[in-house]
Each structure stands twice: as C-alpha cells, then as structure tokens.
Amino acid sequence: MNLKANRSTIGFIGVSLLIIVFVQVLISVGVLSAFWATLISIGAVMGIVSLGLNLIYGFNGQFSLGQWGFYAIGAYTAADVTYRWSQEHSASGLVIVSLVVLLVGGSFLLIRYMLSRIRGLDPLSAFSLYLIGVVIAGFLAVKIGQFIINPVTAMFNILPASLAMQIIFFLAVLLAGALAAEVSFIFGMPVLTLGSDYFGIATLGFTIIVKVLLDNSDVLLGFEEMKGARGMVGIPKLTSWLWVSLFLLAVVIVTRNLLHSSNGRAMISVREDEIAAKAMGIDLAQQKTLTFVLGSFFAGLAGALYAHINGFLHPNTFNFIKSFDPMIIIVFGGLGSVTGTVMAAFAWALVLEGVLRLVLPTGFETWRFVVYPVLLLIMMLLRPKGLFGAFEFPFLRQVLPPLRKSQGSAATTPKPTIAEGD
C-alpha cells in the first residue's frame, strides 16, 4: 500500500466527515434556517445526479440528456414505496419493487449468460430478447409479490415505527437506483449504438417520454397515489442532511475508485478515441453500457433522495428543460472533474435558488431567469473549461499507474556502462 495515497484517503474522508458534521451542527443549532438547509440538501442531490452524468459524459464521452428521466424514475419509485408504507401501512410498494428489481436483474443475468454464447447478435435483437425477459419477470414479480406482502408488513410492524420508516427509506433509495439502472440497461442497449448527437437526442426523448408517462401515471399506468399531473403529495419528508451527504460521499468514493480501476481507464480511453480503444481490446459496447448504467443508478439514488426533501413531486420538475441542469453543472464544474462537479452543484443550488432570490430587490423575482442565462453566457465566455478547470483534491486526482520496476529503471535511469563498473 502506498503510504501517500493512504494519507490522502484518510484526509479526504476525515475532512468530508468534518464538513458533514459541521453543517449538521449548524442546522441543529439553527444558524442555517430550514430554507438554506433544504437548499444545501438539493445541492447534494444535484451533486449526485451530476456525478452520474459526469461519468457518462465527462469520462465516457456519451452525450446524454436522459439523466433527468432516470432521476424522475428514481424519485417516483422511492416516493411510491415510502408513501405506501407511511400512508397505507403496507409494504406492498417495497415488496413489489424489490421483487421486480431482483427478478428483472436475474432475467438480465440469465439472458446475458445465454447470449454470451452467440456471436454477432445485433443490439436490436438483443434488446427484443431482453424486453421479453423483462415482461415475464415483471409479471412473475407482481404475481409472487401478492403472497408475501402481508408477512413483510407484519415483519416491519415488529420494529419501532421510526426505525422501520428509516429502513424502508434506505431500501427505497437503493431500489430506486437499481430500478433506474435496469431501465437504463435495457434502454441503453440499442440506443448506445447511435452516434453522439443522435444518442443525445434519443435520451432527450427518453426524458420526455418519462415525463409524459408521469403526467398520466394515474390513468395510464394505474398508480392512483401518484396523481398524475396534479402532483404526488403525502410523501414522508425523510431526507435529512445526514442521509444526503452520506450518500454523496459514498457516490464520490465509488466514482473515484471506479476511475482508478482498469474499468475507469478503459472508460476514459473510450472517450479519448473509440477506434484506438477498440484496437487495445476494449469492449466498447460493454464499457458504454457499464458507465450508462452506473450513471443512471446515481440518478435514481438522487431522485429518491429529492422526492423526500419536500414531500411533493410534480411531473413538471422532470420537464426536459430541467434536464439541462446537470449538464450545465458538469460543464461549470469542468468535464471530467469530480471536485468541480460537486462544488458546482452546491454553487448552482445556492446561487440560483438562494442568492439570486435574496440579491434581487422585491418585485424583480421574475428577473431571476433573466439574470441566470446572462451569468451562464458570461461563464461560458470567460471559463469555457469550467470553474475549477483541472483542479482536483489529491484523493480524487487520477494517478497514472506506477511503471513497473524493470520498465521504470530502463526508461528513466541510464544503465551504468561496463567500463565504469570495471
């Protein structure tokens, strides 16, 4: 183990935990009002979404506008799970969603195993086969779920109410991420074969399709409690600063470790040059899918956390116009910069919703979105590489793998000549 890397790891996690605790103390003491506490939480949520998008676009070079659709899927999934528990005292949401996630994931693995023997299957055909798997797995999940709703509900009723709520919330967040990841897997399979701009447009379409489905979630999808375009109310407000910040920290660490692994390097090489990466033996489709799925997983997590901040969800939050927000954040923070993304996410939330509201005199609140684009434009002209450019904290900085001893000595230190030795 490299001592220096170790020190930076401990330092980074220590400092992060200190900041988290410090902000928590500020909130508990009351220095930060509920307004600002909410904004900071939204900043952390945006940080998670944008880190996911940064993986997809910043590190893998896939221009995706679908992040917001996965965010929406995560938000509504988790909201439905906790809503059913808190309002209807039934674990039906939890049971069905987890069965769907497990069975669909299982069917993916099974089909993947079966397809791995077939060479040269085109993505569209593979997509059709996976789609059949999803339909069967979903049907089975609902049928099996009917039998175990009551036992699971009884099991959670044994626990103290608040503890059960927190456990269900935690599971709901993870399930929301997993569901978003599965949707992204099946959607990404055919779409990732498109060229960069067309991929962006197709994913934009995905965001719009999700939004339209949510608008009609009560009529077309049959989820009465989502209330369609009227907006879903009655979601328990469970997201606290601690939850969000710990999730953000976890996402940062996962991102960092991924980028430091061979998968991460493969991912970046796909961004740099697809043909060269392919020549090096990197499976392009697999790398793209992996990144897309992981990025969407983060989006699902973030959506689930967002749903429980205000306790209210409306399809308009998931409008395609808003899907540019994470894109703006990662460009501000610097593409391919983890530090920059997190900082820019907080800055974005605090400035746009907080500072601009306070700075602009009364009567000029509507000018907020007139000032914002002007700021955007100035920013793009002055700092096209992002606010932080290439700056990274030492822990997050990408180190090239150290050269092996024999290679290193051969390349750097000149060989002692025989004459000298003699």
């Binding site: 221009f63 077939i118 060479r119 040269g120 299957l121 085109d122 993505p123 569209l124 055909s125 997509f127 059709s128 086969l129 789609l131 055919p190 779409v191 074969t193 498109l194 060229g195 701009d197 067309y198 962006g200 447009i201 197709a202 934009l204 379409g205 995905f206 719009i208 399709i209 339209v212 489905l213 608008d215 009609n216 009529v219 077309l220 395609f320 116009i321 540019f324 894109m327 703006i328 460009v331 593409l335 509507t366 000018w367 907020r368 979105f369 007139v370 914002y372 684009p373 002007v374 955007l376 434009l377 793009m380 002209l381 096209p384």
Partner: protein
C-alpha cells in the same frame, strides 16, 4: 490434408442472427400492429380519418418551416440551436403587436382607401409575415454574433449550453411584465376564417352553422399555410441550390477551413444561415398563431421540440428531409391524438423518432456520418 473449398453450412439460427431478424421482426410487429389498429379505426369513420389527415397536414407544414432552421444551423455549425423555438415565439408576438396595436394588416386600405379590400388584406398579411421574418432574422443574427460566435472554437458543449441560456433568456425576458407579459393572449387574425366542407362536392360553411355529419372540414388557414410554406420552401431551395450564397453555404457546411481558403467569408455565411432559418421560423410563428390563435411566452418550446424531432427524423442537415420529417411528425401527432391517446402524443412522437433512428441511425434522408481525420 485436403483443404475444403466450400463454406461451412450456415445453420438456421446463424441465419437469424446474421440477418438481424429478431429485431426486424419486433419492429415489423409493432408497425403492423399500429397500422392495422389505425386502419381499423379509420374504416369505422373515414370522414374523421381524412379530417385528421388534413389537420396533420396543416401542422406538418408549420413544423417544416421551423425544422428548416434547425436543420440548416446544424448542417453548418453542428449546433443544436435550442433558442430556435423561442425565435419562433418572438415571430408570433411581433405579428400580434403589429396587428393588434398598429393594424399593419390593414395598411394598404388605410393609405389608399378605395383599394379592393381583398388585395389590401393580401398585401397586409404578407407585410405582417415579412415584418416577423425580418425581426426574427435580425434577432437571430444578433444572438449568433453575441452568443455563438465567440464560442466557435470552444468545445461544442459550450455552445450548446449557451444556446440553452439564450432560450431561457428569450423566454423569461419575454415573460417580464413590460415585454410580452406572462399571460395567454388571444391572437387577432389578420383575416377572417372561412370554412368549407366536403360532402358530395365542396360547400361553403356559413358562420354559426353546424357542419353535416360525415363531412370533412377545411378552412382558408390550411390553404394559406400550405401556399406560404411551399413558396418559402421553394425559395429556400432556390437560394441553397442556385445562388452564390447557397453555394457558399453548402461549401461551409462541407468543410469550413477549405471554404475559408477558397475566399468564402465563413462568418458571414454562418450569419446568413442563422438569418434565413430564423426568418422561416418567424413566418412559422405567424402561421401557427393564425391557426391556433393564442400566444404566450413559452409557446415556442413544444413546436420547437417537435420540429427538431422532425428535422432529426428526416435526417438533420437535409432540407427535403426536414419537410418529409415534419409531415410525418404532423400526421403522427394528430393520428396519435385521435386514435391512441391525446396526452401521450409527445411520447409517441419521440418513440417514432427512436425507432427510426434504430433502423436508420442518421434519419430518413441523412447521410452516413463522415469520418473526419
């Protein structure tokens, strides 16, 4: 050892996989299902079906005018100009103010009182459209000079984000109380609507009279939209194919550095492209507001998006593609609203787009992406 000269036998499964038959079968199944469903519904009431087709035609031609701006700008600078839909909105508002506040549509009869009212109306309407086109063209050139030109050498994402910023700016600046206000405004048409119905011949429909059941209605708005769109399309095609500016545009879109070496003013040509595209969007704004008489500051978002989808569907960068894509989009929108589900029509439009992109990755008329060294 003897070398076998015959190819190894291809099994049934291998044929299925090499021919990509599973995916093709799925797509074919979907399209046949949808076609049969619509054909069944259409056979139940043919009049309604033809009515939908006519409505779709009207919508499709408006989309075509907007889509051309997207497709030309993308073809020349590879930028998805998200502000284009808002330029369309500005066109609609300019014509509204010109008509409601300044009576521009009636200026010939105000200047020469004894002029034939029909001629006055035609000239007045054309001048309203020209005013909207000129304003939008000027606006687009300003936007291009201020926002996009400094970023020409920056990464493409910067220009895209700027485009989104400009779109926000136009919308929310327009929403300010002293600009366009954030209210819905009823649009005042420059001419009266006359409606005809088709049932054993074409009959004029008197105002306040119900059309007989089983007849197909159409109005002078449809005719005007089709005539003006076709005229504008023809003149655009003439500009692009027959004039020196058009030649320069094609050269710039093909290869910018070489075009510059050939003595073409690349920046000037890009500005001209933006101006032409925006002028078409301005005309589309007038026609759209005439057909659906309501203007509001965010009215450009949805038609802009639909037109963009249409441009991509037809093959972005291709002018005939934009027209064909828009007509398909118009029909898809009204047919899905009429026969499948009204709230789902945006989703259906995008589903069609994604399916088409899966089969033809660069759109119907799109050229395969060129490899650039």
């Amino acid at each position: 050892m003897e070398k076998s000269t015959t190819a190894p036998p291809v099994s049934f499964f291998q044929r299925i996989i090499r021919g990509r038959w599973i995916g093709k079968f799925m797509l074919a199944a979907i399209s046949i299902l949808v076609t049969v469903g619509i054909a069944f519904k259409a056979s139940q009431s043919p009049a309604l079906f033809f009515q939908q087709l006519i409505n779709g035609l009207q919508l499709g031609f408006v989309y075509a005018l907007i889509a051309l701006g997207y497709t030309m700008v993308y073809g020349i600078v590879r930028l998805i100009n998200f502000a284009h839909g808002d330029v369309f909105m500005v066109g609609a508002f300019v014509s509204y103010f010109a008509i409601a506040n300044f009576q521009l549509h009636a200026w010939p009869s105000a200047v020469i009182p004894e002029i034939n009212p029909v001629i006055s109306l035609v000239i007045g309407t054309i001048s309203v459209i020209f005013l909207a086109m000129a304003t939008c063209g000027f606006l687009a050139v300003t936007i291009e000079r201020v926002a996009y030109k400094p970023l020409r050498d920056a990464p493409r994402i910067s220009a895209l984000i700027t485009a989104i910023g400009v779109s926000f700016f136009l919308e929310y600046f327009g929403a300010l109380p002293f600009v366009f206000t954030s209210n819905f405004i009823t649009y005042k048409r420059p001419f009266e609507v006359t409606t005809w119905y088709i049932q054993n011949g074409i009959h004029h429909l008197e105002a306040g009279v119900e059309a007989p059941t089983g007849s197909v209605l159409f109005s002078n708005i449809l005719i005007i939209i089709i005539i003006i769109s076709l005229l504008l399309l023809a003149s655009l095609q003439f500009i692009v194919r027959r004039t020196k500016v058009g030649k320069a545009m094609r050269a710039v879109s093909y290869d910018k550095p070489t075009a510059r070496l050939m003595g073409i003013n690349v920046d000037g040509i890009i500005s001209v492209t933006f101006a032409i595209g925006a002028a078409l969007a301005g005309a589309a704004g007038v026609l759209y507001a005439t057909a659906y008489p309501q203007v509001v500051f965010w009215m450009g978002i949805t038609p802009g998006l639909k037109a963009f989808v249409a441009a991509v569907l037809g093959g972005i960068g291709s002018i005939p593609g934009a027209l064909v894509g828009s007509l398909i989009m118009g029909q898809a929108e009204v047919l899905s609203a009429g026969y499948i589900s009204t709230p789902m029509r945006d989703a259906i439009a995008f589903t069609i787009l994604i399916l088409v992109l899966l089969v033809r990755p660069t759109g119907i008329f799109g050229e395969p992406e060129r490899e650039k060294a």
